[in-house]
Structure formats: structure tokens, C-alpha cells
């Protein structure tokens, strides 16, 4: 089969790999029909995630058709059109039993601090991802779900991570009616988080980024006010001014490990790998939120320490909430919202790249070329 293969930082290519096989009675093999590149894939691409091995295939956002099932699979059969959450999870461990699917303890030998994720280094279990023609899907009775007939492929693939994560991030903010919600980062997760904040009754939503084309999308798709931090000396001070010096009630970090805005943070994290990530957006969030407010972290960070302003968080009495998203928990309610016509997830898609040219997709997304927001990858195209 053809598959995207990691060749080292900033290098990927498409090559022939063996079609994955059933390795466990509850495995399924899925033929991928559509995948996506996630912002967090760029952390792998840039060599930031420890134990990212040469020859592995990335991709934790994908949908497809069931090709083969293991002997204990009851809920899926060959030919089913399925969407697969980015979490690999067993459904039965201490954490899964409590709905913490992203924290499963039965699927990742390499680390206990993170669950299993498709195509996201050995630190999350060493599974190949879906930027390929076929992928092994463990626990086929637990994670995958048959795609409803009414749902478009583009929307389904965005539900496997980006939309679910943005929606989850807004929930972690514990938004109450009339809250002012600030979102750092106007990438896919930030756009969805901003859009979701309205569902929860926000009175005001402000999205902050430095890419003007993404801020334009935030105004159009997420009905948000926007602020370009590159035009300001001090974005935190601007947030105080805009909120009568109170601060925002809820701030969402939708930027994560490669946040720009501080040369020192960028260089020491993304370039020198001395930190688990550049916490610029997180620090701005801590300083922009009001005392007693909530900071929700949707951005991904690496496993080593980051220079976070914890003293401010403590002195302000903040609630910091975060997790990898338990994706499947979000689906029933998100399906309802999409059916109601509240929004169309695929409105943020800007690029479709054949699998054979996926390296171009990575570079366009990474370098923010061609007004790129979201890249879909088409195997067999």
C-alpha cells in the first residue's frame, strides 16, 4: 500500500508499506478514504515529539471503509463506512470506564501519562496513522462508529479530532451565560472552540492570532471579534482594556506547543527543544483571564517542562482545565448541532492534497502558505 512515511524532521515521503494485519481479536483493518493533517502533526514533523521513529506513518484524523475484522468484533463488518476517533482506547480500564477515553491505560506501553493516539509517535503507543491507504484500528467495537448516511465525508473526518477538540475546549471553560471568552489561536481548533463558545451562551467571543486571513475566517465562521497581536505591543494589556480591566471570564489556549509571539519561547522550544512547547499563548491566557476565571488548554504540548507562569495562575485563583479530547463522547451532541444546521464543519477546509503529494501539504500548512487553514488528504487520488 502507499503510505506517508516520516524520514526525519521536516522530511516525509510516500512509499510502499505492507498492508497492516489483524494483530488482536478486536482489531479492524480500515481502508482510508479521507484523512487530514492536524496542527499537532506539525509537532511530529518538526521533530518535537520524543520517540518519533523513522518509517512511521502519521495521521490521527481519518475515515474509511472496514476491510477486515478480527474474530471478536461484533459491531462492525466488512464494507461499513466508519469514522475513527483519534484516541486508541479499550473501553474497559479504570479511566475508560469513567469516560476518560483519551487517558486509556491499556493501549500505550511507552508512557502512562498519555493514552493511545494513531500515528503520533511511540510516546503515544507506536501505532501507524491514517495518512495511508490502510490502517490498523484496535478495539473496533469501542472507538469507530458507522458514519450516518446524512453526513458528508468532509464533516465526518473533521469530527475525528479538530471539531470535537474545539467543542471540548469550550466545555472545559465552564462557560456561563454572558461570559466573555477569549481564544488564542485561529487555527481549526480555535475556530471551532470560538464557534462552540456561543453554543454555551457566551456574550462575547474574541479570537487572537497574528495571521490576518485566519482572523478573517474567525469573523466569518465563528462570529467573533478579532485581535491581531502582531499589531500590539502587549496583547494582555489590550485584553484588559477591552474588558473594562476585569479580564476575560474564560480563555482558551488553542495554539499549543509552537505558539509564536515570543522569540525566546519559540527558539528554546521549537528550535532548541529545551522545552516541551512554547507556552506563549498559555501565559497570555493566564494573564488575560480575570481573577477566579478559567483557562482551558486545547493546545498540545510535549512531555518535558515548559516555562509556564504558574505564580500568576496561583495568585489569581485560576482554574486550569485540560485534557486530550475523549472524542466519541462529543459525537452524539455534535451530530445534533450539525443536523440542526448550526454550522458546517467543512467550511474551514482550504486544501485537498492527494496522498502522493502529502509533503507539499505539510509544508503549506507548516509555513502558512496560500492562506492555509485545514488540509485534507485523499488516498488514491
Amino acid at each position: 500500500m502507499r503510505a506517508m512515511v516520516y524520514r526525519g524532521p521536516y522530511r516525509i515521503r510516500v512509499e510502499e508499506k505492507d498492508v497492516p494485519r489483524i494483530e488482536h481479536p478486536n482489531d479492524a483493518i480500515v481502508r482510508v478514504t479521507l484523512a487530514a493533517i492536524c496542527g499537532s502533526d506539525l509537532h511530529l514533523y518538526h521533530g518535537m515529539m520524543p520517540d518519533t521513529r523513522i518509517g512511521t506513518t502519521f495521521g490521527h484524523e481519518f475515515i474509511g471503509v472496514v476491510e477486515e475484522v478480527g474474530s471478536s468484533v461484533q459491531r462492525l463488518k466488512r464494507g461499513d463506512r466508519v469514522m475513527v476517533p483519534f484516541n486508541v482506547y479499550c473501553g474497559s480500564c479504570y479511566f475508560c470506564a469513567r469516560g476518560l477515553y483519551s487517558n486509556c491505560h491499556n493501549v500505550n506501553p511507552n508512557a502512562t501519562a498519555v493514552g493511545g493516539i494513531y500515528g503520533y509517535s511511540h510516546t503515544t503507543g507506536g501505532y501507524d496513522g491514517g495518512q495511508a491507504e490502510y490502517v490498523r484500528v484496535p478495539f473496533a467495537d469501542v472507538g469507530p462508529q458507522i458514519i450516518p448516511d446524512w453526513m458528508a465525508d468532509d464533516d465526518a473526518v473533521l469530527l475525528t479530532d479538530a471539531l470535537a477538540t474545539g467543542y471540548f475546549a469550550a466545555q472545559l471553560g465552564d462557560i456561563v451565560e454572558s461570559d466573555t471568552v477569549v481564544v488564542f489561536g485561529a487555527g481549526p481548533v480555535g475556530l471551532y472552540a470560538a464557534r462552540s463558545a456561543w453554543l454555551m451562551g457566551a456574550g462575547r467571543v474574541i479570537v487572537i492570532d497574528h495571521l490576518e486571513y485566519r482572523l478573517a475566517k474567525a469573523r466569518e465562521f465563528a462570529y467573533a471579534e478579532t485581535v491581531n497581536f502582531a499589531e500590539l505591543d502587549d496583547v494582555v494589556l489590550e485584553m484588559k482594556r477591552q474588558t473594562d480591566y476585569l479580564g476575560a471570564d474564560v480563555v482558551i489556549d488553542a495554539a499549543g506547543a509552537e505558539a509564536d509571539g515570543s522569540l525566546l519561547q519559540q527558539v528554546t522550544s521549537a528550535k532548541l527543544k529545551l522545552q516541551g512547547g512554547s507556552p506563549t499563548a498559555l501565559n497570555w491566557a493566564i494573564d488575560s483571564v480575570r481573577k477566579g476565571g478559567t483557562v482551558s488548554v486545547a493546545g498540545a504540548y510535549g512531555p518535558v517542562f515548559s516555562a509556564v507562569k504558574f505564580g500568576d495562575a496561583m495568585n489569581k485563583g485560576l482554574t486550569l482545565r485540560m485534557n486530550q479530547t475523549p472524542v466519541k463522547r462529543q459525537w452524539p451532541r455534535l451530530f445534533e448541532h450539525i443536523q440542526q444546521g448550526y454550522f458546517r464543519p467543512s467550511d474551514i477546509v482550504t486544501h485537498r492534497i492527494p496522498l502522493e503529494h502529502i509533503a507539499d501539504g505539510y509544508h503549506i500548512f507548516s509555513a502558512k502558505l496560500d492562506d492555509c487553514i485545514k488540509v485534507l488528504v485523499q488516498p488514491g487520488a
Partner: protein, 192 residues
């Protein structure tokens, strides 16, 4: 009292615009106003029967090679990825990280990153002497630079481009320093 407002007084100003205006402007406004409608509330919800799992503990996947694991795990978890098993020098480094240090130790992660770099260097060397060497133009996607940037993107003050001047130094620097140290060590050994 016109110039004294929140947070210096107790009241929170009324919602402007109103509920009705927000509902009219934003499709779905307030649909999840009640926390009970939010799927992740409460955070923990005990429902093992609702996940689709029909086992108390999953069948164990066959361990076809010695699978490395975090020493914070009491057992080898029953299911795991099998791509790219440990091999060569990078494998020795990574195995040492897993065998000796917990996830709490910086050494664990630094060794894993070192393993990544050693494996990448080996892959690049092997590729260079192979019949099908890496194609840096296609593999880096650099040819897409021609598709266009946001106006002003290459100005030196944009947040994601203002460190470009130092990037080559940061990326190549460690390789040059490591190579130089290696050369000095090799030379001193050869002189003995």
C-alpha cells in the same frame, strides 16, 4: 460614579447584546447553555457498559518481539503498536531510556530525543549511499513556496518569521558542534 466600573464595584453589567439579539445573529446560540447538555459534564461518568467493550480485561496481543515499556507500567498493556521496532544504535539509546528512567525524569525524554536524532542521521546516511536517495525537494515540500504567502509574510516583524535569521544557526549548530567534538576525539585517539 461614571468613571468607576468593574472590577472596582460588585455589579456585572447586563448582557449586551441581549439573548434575543444573540439568538437572531448566531445560529445555535445557547443550545448548550445548560451544563447537562454538554457531553463532557461531569468530567467523570462511570459507565463501563456504554463503551462497547464486552470484556473486563482485553485479550492480550501477542508479543512477537521484546516490547519496550515505561517502567511506570506494572504490566505490558494488552494492546500496543508494533511499527518500527527498536533497532541499531538508536534502539540501544531508546531502550536505555525506557529501562532506566521513569517518565518523571528529564533523562528519559532527552535520551529518546537523542535516539530520534541518531536514527535520523543514520537514515540520511543510508539514503545517501542507496540507489534511491532522499529527494529533498519533494520530501520537504519546499517547491510549494511558490504558491503564495499572505501579504507581508516575509517581513521581518511577523511573529512566525522574525526568527528566520537565527533558524539555520539553531538547526545546523548542534550538528556542527557535535561533529567538531567528534572529530577532536577521533583525532586525539588516532594520535595516541
Amino acid at each position: 460614579m461614571t468613571d468607576v466600573n468593574r472590577p472596582y464595584v460588585a455589579d456585572k453589567p447586563p448582557l449586551v447584546p441581549t439573548r434575543e439579539e444573540l439568538r437572531a445573529r448566531i445560529p445555535g446560540w445557547g443550545a448548550d447553555l445548560d451544563p447537562k447538555d454538554r457531553p463532557s459534564y461531569p468530567r467523570e461518568r462511570f459507565d463501563p457498559a456504554g463503551t462497547g467493550a464486552h470484556w473486563d480485561f482485553p485479550d492480550r496481543q501477542e508479543e512477537t518481539y521484546p516490547r519496550e515499556r515505561s517502567i511506570e507500567h506494572g504490566i505490558l498493556p494488552p494492546v500496543f503498536g508494533t511499527v518500527a521496532p527498536l533497532h541499531g544504535v538508536s534502539g540501544l539509546i531508546r531502550r536505555a531510556a525506557y529501562k532506566r528512567f521513569s517518565e518523571a525524569r528529564l533523562a528519559h525524554w532527552l535520551l529518546l530525543i537523542a535516539g530520534d536524532r541518531v536514527e535520523a542521521a543514520g537514515a540520511h546516511l543510508r539514503s545517501a549511499i542507496s540507489l534511491h536517495p532522499d529527494d529533498l525537494v519533494t520530501e520537504t515540500g519546499v517547491r510549494t513556496e511558490s504558491v503564495g504567502r499572505e501579504a507581508g509574510a516575509l517581513r521581518s516583524d511577523r511573529a512566525d518569521t522574525n526568527h528566520r535569521w537565527i533558524d539555520p544557526l539553531l538547526v545546523a549548530g548542534p550538528w556542527v558542534v557535535t561533529g567538531w567534538i567528534g572529530w577532536r576525539i577521533l583525532r586525539s585517539v588516532l594520535r595516541r
